[in-house]
Amino acid sequence: MNSAFVCTFGPLTFLCVVLASAVPYSTNAAPFDEATERYRLFMIADLDRALDGVRALRDRVKANDIPRAKQAWIDARIGWERSEVFTSGFIPELDDAIDSWPDAATGFHGLEVKLFGANSGDFGDETDMLILHLTDADERVRSMQLTPQGLLNGVTRLAYEIGDSKVDGGESRLSGTSLDDMRNNADGIELAYRTLFASPLEASDPKLAEQVRSDIDQLKALLKVQNLRGIDPYKLQKASEALVVALQAAGPKLGLETPSLEGTAK
């Protein structure tokens, strides 16, 4: 079965359509292998975006242009947050170095403290280190074996995390982009689910597939607010848990194990 895969989420729409057209999805021939390779391209694009953002940040700090350096940091985070489906499970040691939190001395949040908290570009070699780690991540995503189980774990873990502690002022409270983090996480979940799991689940359990789609929509709808204060924490928590429960039910239907919330892909 060929499917014209169309993404409905913002900036990647064009890329999704192009990629989907170029590599039609087939459930008959090793579906996860094909889908995984398509998903890999998204991950590469997201990590490239994160890397470009941090390089731009470094250049703007050198030019002592703090406002534009802040914008570069925000741009870099978009790609990074969307790729969290992959990063925490497949490259946990780089995840630690790139996205240490909450007491961050290095990585994105280390830069955030100085850039947004102190309005300073006095980074030492921290930007270079972040570029080094992101480059490593970018190289590894190109060649690393991406197992469907690991990716389903990543999707499920991220769905849980959205309902967890990020509404309390957030992971990126100094930059004021915590809500964006959550939205990008949700986009990352949707992208991974639709690219990797939607079609096979539709084939094996249409009702459950509909449930997952509906839960993702619900999660995204709850994040369509002006600021963090507009989020209903209980509704978000419940929506997140409902999605996790549905994704856990989906595991065996996809021929995979029930996804774990803490395990790594290794």
Binding site: V113, D168, G169, L228, L261
Partner: protein, 462 residues
């Protein structure tokens, strides 16, 4: 006995602010910068959520080796649930327990704009119920609820003769919650009536000291001595030693109006003092009465009265160390309410219980930092297993609520059985295995928060 800290949706914002406050000396001074999105409660809010020790709750039932009733447990759950409140409190994850930790007070509680001293809150301010905003910053001391059943009338000015009316007013009037159901009100009242004073072995029948300490005994005599300018009055006239040191009346003691007599029992742990929390020490309190009532107390007299107050205000084991076993016991206690609620097909109680336990479990998960926290090294596999086990419990509870919401109570009961099975076979062991690398370990706790302070110092250097 129950013990807990409350996770709140302001959580990290609050502790970041709390860490900043000591360095800035005054609670009001907070320059923690915010950009774009902001926290739900004002920056600088201190909820006192991260201590290793907690005030001990003395259950009357458990003191006589009984078992807390369904109603008391349900009241405890409601007391810990932000969902019974409304507006900003619900949004921020504030519950009754946020102000009254384990049914006591919260001497560090501070919300900029609503508190003038730590341990006070303006319940008629603009934040929690704008409709009740009186346009004046007039915070009141957050009282301990120990021994509440002996302490009518209720409210700082004693406006409520009934504990039930008082509770209802807090929920609806002060925190803009929906009208509570009769069973929830009954339950909270039952829970509050179960909280006893801490035992004080220094006090005997009729509130007499059992001490041989001379200063304390001199203080006792002064406490009962008629005032020089009005022999009908003494300290003991209002703080009746044989009656929990209260007279159930309101008095004007020169603090700006009529306020009810507070108990002195366990008072050592109920700072600050006076209706608006203006005094932090017994010395200040005694000096105030000396001045207002022209008591002509010498320095020695004042010292003796303070010694007496310290003896009367004492209590056994006022604090406990927050440990895994205690937390799991409390969660188990809460979950037991589901047995009755599922059998009764009571969806509202199931939902309230699941949501409250969910919060408790998520709070417990935060005690086991994840791999991204650089302040905690080692035990990564153990921490991962602990977090995973607790998250599984969160999801089992979620399945219970989902099943009940569609009327499938057999499935809800089966999930509850599965929850208990999982708890009994592995969760406690997984948590204990990870304990050395958790925030239950004082060294890890300190390392974690010292790293936070380091981050803030990095900010302040620039």
């Amino acid at each position: 006995m129950t013990t807990r800290r409350r996770r709140s949706h302001v959580g990290r914002a609050a502790w970041v602010a709390a860490l900043l406050l000591p360095a800035l000396a005054t609670p009001d001074a907070n320059s923690f910068p915010l950009f774009g999105d902001q926290t739900i409660l004002p920056s600088g809010t201190e909820l006192n959520q991260d201590g290793i020790s907690l005030p001990r709750e003395q259950s009357r039932t458990e003191a006589v080796e009984g078992i807390r009733s369904y109603l008391v447990k349900l009241g405890d759950i409601a007391f810990n649930s932000p969902a019974i409140l409304g507006g900003m409190a619900r949004q921020a994850g504030i519950s009754c327990n946020s102000c009254h930790i384990n049914g006591t007070s919260n001497p560090k509680f501070f919300i900029p704009g609503l508190s003038t001293h730590s341990g006070t809150l303006d319940t008629t301010g603009p934040l929690f119920n704008p409709r009740a905003d009186n346009g004046s910053l007039d915070p009141v001391r957050i009282p301990s609820l120990r021994g509440a059943r002996y302490l009518a009338p209720y409210g700082i000015d004693g406006r409520f003769s009934s504990l039930r009316d008082f509770v209802r007013n807090v929920i609806v009037g002060e925190f803009s919650g929906p009208e509570p159901s009769p069973v929830i009100l009954d339950a909270i009242v039952a829970y509050l009536q179960d909280i006893d004073f801490l035992n004080n072995r220094r006090l005997g029948p009729a509130g007499r000291l059992l001490t041989t300490d001379e200063a304390e005994l001199r203080g006792q005599a002064l406490f009962n001595k008629p005032f020089p300018h009005d022999p009908s009055l003494s300290c003991a006239t209002c703080h009746l030693p044989s009656g929990a040191f209260v007279d159930h009346c309101q008095h004007d003691v020169g603090s700006g109006g009529l306020f009810k007599t507070p108990t002195l029992l366990n008072g050592n742990f109920n700072r600050p003092y006076f209706h608006d929390g203006r005094f932090d020490t017994y010395e200040q309190v005694v000096a105030h009465f000396n001045r207002v009532f022209s008591l002509s107390l010498s320095a020695q007299d004042q010292h003796d009265l303070v010694a007496y107050l310290n003896a009367v205000g004492d209590g056994e084991r006022p604090y406990i160390i927050n440990r895994i076993g205690v937390q799991l016991q409390e969660i188990s206690d809460f979950v037991s309410v589901l047995d009755t609620a599922i059998q009764a097909h009571d969806v509202d109680i199931i939902s309230l219980t699941v949501n409250t336990v969910d919060d408790e479990l998520r709070e417990l998960i935060e005690q086991f930092p994840d791999h991204r926290d650089p302040a905690v090294t080692g035990g990564q596999a153990e921490r991962r297993r602990a977090r995973s086990a607790l998250k599984d419990l969160v999801l089992k509870l979620s399945r219970i609520e989902l099943a009940a919401s569609v009327g499938d109570f057999d499935e809800a009961a089966a999930e509850l059985h599965s929850y208990r099975y999982e708890t009994s076979i592995g969760v406690a062991a997984a948590l204990r295995a990870a304990e050395p690398w958790s925030l239950f370990n004082p060294k890890i706790h300190d390392a974690h928060y010292n790293a936070m302070r380091q981050m803030l110092q990095t900010m302040s250097k620039h």
